[in-house]
Amino acid sequence: MNEKIVIIGNGVAGSTLALQLAEKGNASVTLISDESSYFFSRTALMYVYMGHLTKMQLEPFSRESWDQSPIQRIMARVLSITPEDNELSFQTSEGDVKQLPYDKLVIATGSKPAFYNWKGLEAKGVLGLYHLNDLEKLEKWAPNASACPEAIVIGGGLIGIELSEMLLSRQIKTTLIIRESFFWSSHLPESDAQFVEKHIRSHHINLIKEDELLEITADETGRVSSIQTKKGETISCNLVGITTGVRPNIEFLKTSGLELDKGILVDEYLKTSDPSIYAIGDCAQLRNPLSNRSAIEPVWYTGKLMGETLAQTFSGQPAPYKPGIWYNSAKFFDLEYQTYGKVSPKASQLKSEHHFHWETAEKAMTFAYDKKSEVFLGINTFGIRLNHRIVSGWIETGIPIQEVIDRLEEAHFDPEFSNRHYKQIKHAFIQNH
């Protein structure tokens, strides 16, 4: 008999695992989701509202290929799991509660928006941007600028910027409120943050810094009408988008007996405290993260990598999760951003790390290196594409910053004919160094 593997969640982690197991063909795989019948790219939700893509185009694999695969898919919400009995219970959309046994269980339930206990959250027109449903809510409450002239977005991370860009695409006047004194200060050094802020403002976003949401006020129909901030301002609005981060979606595991912290605690083989239960993706929290990497990393590629790693383990070649050098990318309106390695946001407070920042009107780069040894640590790049493999290689081997500056053109990944700035950067580095 084939081993029965049940995966909860069909996001990138769960779907990658399911597809790879199906390809190897030595287990029976069941994939449970309460969100969508087919795997879609969550990171691209914004493009549907903006009219760049249809909902169907978000799906990385054709529906045909899913229907033809041996993976059994169930649309249902998992209510609880009972590790002692190797069983979980779920509720279908018709309301029936059923039990499902498993040999191995994989939890890949992702994240959910982290809402704090603000007053007025229940008002109509308050939403996050995570779930497929959020797109429907947005379409309902902010279909256009006449139904929704003004919107407020709380929280200045990547999702906050995405939501602002979405609203702006429908000419909705948007105010972005961030708690910190500069944009995304948990990740960006101040010079980079200022560069991004300039770009945000050039798109006519009203950026309010160092203030926070206090409460939301609704009108007599229950629809959002204004918010009050901690600093005492009242801002009228028709929509409140809350993008103050995400947290692991693990409420249903409270009674399971699994060891939980912020997320589900897993070892390097992605195994939880129960030997037949694993957790991957945003909901997993590594007990021993690699240096320079976090215990929970809610990004697309880590979910994918965990899915791939676990697929290998399940097919008899146990593989520890090895994400390598940290990297990520994003797009702030029209400004592309890539990061490799470690660029500490507050280098001024760190004794050992030095930064070299270079910028023009449209492009910027920040190089981080060790103050003493001058070893290259990482880079943030804005408006310039760099070659992932080459930059990661430099960080892995630990070459000196001078060599990185000299060899920067090797990592060139911009389209043909793009302006090259490597000489300028070199020149600026010499003058600064």
Partner: protein
């Protein structure tokens, strides 16, 4: 309702452009009344309309990708307006190809312009050429403004505008003025896209016009056999399809708003492979047959006798196919190998029929009939009526993808013998799908990018839009 509606400025310029078309039509019906003023007003209004629309759409906006609302607008998402435009375009092509007598008034309107250029009266093809070139120039400007942040996009658009206006439009007209007997020859239109290049009357034209005619004929042969493979080896098929070609030029400019409509299904890909290669076989056989029958008429008057011609064609074909099957045996899937062998055997068999029957009949059908059927079904119906008329429904590269035999040859070269590829950037892909959605050739780019594999596909015309719309900088065209 969402607010991806056209602004009032955009509307005004749309009406100005449409009124230009209306002036042309009206003046066409009452040619005696408006004459050259009508031509001037019509083309002028069209130009003001397109340029005005362009600037009211993009000026003052930050540079970047401009795809907001693509799937919400009727014209770009197969709505009513798209169908209406499709019907009008298709009707225009049908009248142009098969009932040009109804365009008589319109054609006479273009007489002054034609006489100014070549000294001849306008024909329906002159009218078509002017409108075609104007479309590439005007919508090319729109494309350049839309992609002003990308030099690759700008440069290749300058290039298609240049080749269309100078090579396709002006040079042939001027050549006609200098030497009226020379065949109308758009130098950048290469066989087999230019399927009539070796027709009898063309060959007469080349051979009876001294050294210039001979030089043009030699250039025509060399451009297929030597220039094309070299350039494709160095740059990929894009050097032609999205930098030089007139069909590609129209697709990339006027057709740009429709690139997302291409069919990405596996079924479409299978159909594409069969169709494009069978059309290549068709044009190959009919061209060989037509040249053979030309040589048969006067077997001793040319350097190349009819039988020598057939033998060299046969040898060349065997050489090329042999080279592919041997050099690239590990790259080709089983079905690709077997169908290559089967199709080439059929062609060699047909050449054998020619050879031994000493007639140009293919299974009792004279080759000029095969050639004229090709001209009708492929040259007119497919490339014109369906290829362009259906832009708003099937996307802008239907002809290039399913029909063009030139694209088929370049595709084989690109897939098997070229430095061109699209590199993917490590693990940065987020599977968003923009690359696949905006690929006009229907390539599922994302399928490669999310597996971190380079893209080396025969059909890729190297337009570079996948790389431009990628929000994570994952794709890079390289050669």
């Amino acid at each position: 309702m969402h607010s991806y509606r056209t602004t009032s400025k955009q509307k005004v310029f749309t009406y100005v452009g449409l009124s230009g078309l209306a002036v042309l039509l009206l003046a066409g019906f009452t040619a005696s009344f408006l004459k050259s003023t009508g031509l001037f007003l019509g083309l002028g209004f069209i130009s003001i309309g397109v340029i005005g629309y362009t600037f009211s759409s993009y000026s003052g906006l930050p540079v970047g990708i401009k795809n907001n609302g693509v799937w919400y607008q009727s014209l770009t998402s197969r709505g009513i307006i798209a169908w209406a435009v499709g019907v009008v375009l298709t009707a225009f092509y049908i009248v142009l190809y098969f009932y040009p007598e109804h365009l008589e008034g319109l054609i006479r309107l273009f007489d002054p312009l034609s006489e100014g250029l070549s000294g001849k009266k306008a024909s329906q093809w002159f009218v078509y050429g002017v409108l075609y070139t104007l479309a590439i120039v005007l919508f090319g400007i729109k494309f350049i403004v839309k992609y002003k942040h990308s030099k690759y996009q700008k440069y290749r658009t300058y290039s298609v505008i240049f080749f269309q206006t100078i090579f396709a439009f002006l040079i042939p007209e001027i050549m006609a003025r200098l030497n009226g007997d020379l065949p109308y020859y758009d130098l950048k239109s290469i066989w087999p896209l230019n399927y009539y290049l070796f027709d009898g009357y063309q060959l007469d034209g080349f051979l009876q016009n001294g050294s210039l005619g001979t030089a043009l004929l030699i250039f025509g042969i060399l451009s297929t056999l030597i220039i094309t493979p070299i350039l494709t080896y160095k740059f990929g098929k894009r050097w032609y399809c999205s930098w030089v070609c007139g069909c590609g030029g129209l697709a990339e400019t006027a057709g740009d708003p429709f690139r997302q409509l291409s069919d990405k299904s596996l079924r479409a890909w299978k159909l594409e492979r069969w169709m494009i290669h069978l059309i290549l076989v068709w044009v190959f056989i009919s061209t060989v047959g037509v040249v053979y029958s030309y040589l048969l008429q006067a077997p001793d008057s040319y350097l190349l006798g009819p039988k020598t011609f057939l033998i060299s064609v046969g040898l060349l074909l065997c050489l090329v196919v042999g080279l592919i099957l041997w050099k690239r045996r590990d790259w080709l899937a089983k079905d690709a190998q077997s169908s290559t062998i089967a199709i080439s055997s059929v062609i060699v068999l047909l050449l054998g029929f020619f050879f031994f029957s000493e007639s140009d009949r293919v299974l009792f059908i004279p080759s000029y009939q095969i050639r004229s059927a090709y001209g009708f079904f492929i040259g007119s119906i497919f490339s014109g009526v369906i290829g362009t008329g259906f832009y708003p429904i099937l996307g802008n590269r239907v002809w290039c993808r399913f029909g063009c035999p030139m694209a088929a040859i370049l595709g084989i070269q690109q897939k098997l013998f070229s430095k061109f590829k699209i590199s993917t950037n490590g693990g940065q892909c987020i599977s968003c799908g923009n690359c696949s959605a905006y690929c006009e050739m229907g390539i599922d780019v994302r399928a490669y990018a999310q597996r971190e594999e380079p893209i080396k596909r025969a059909s890729c015309v190297g337009c570079g839009i996948c790389s431009a719309v990628c929000p994570r900088g994952v794709l890079r065209l390289e050669s």
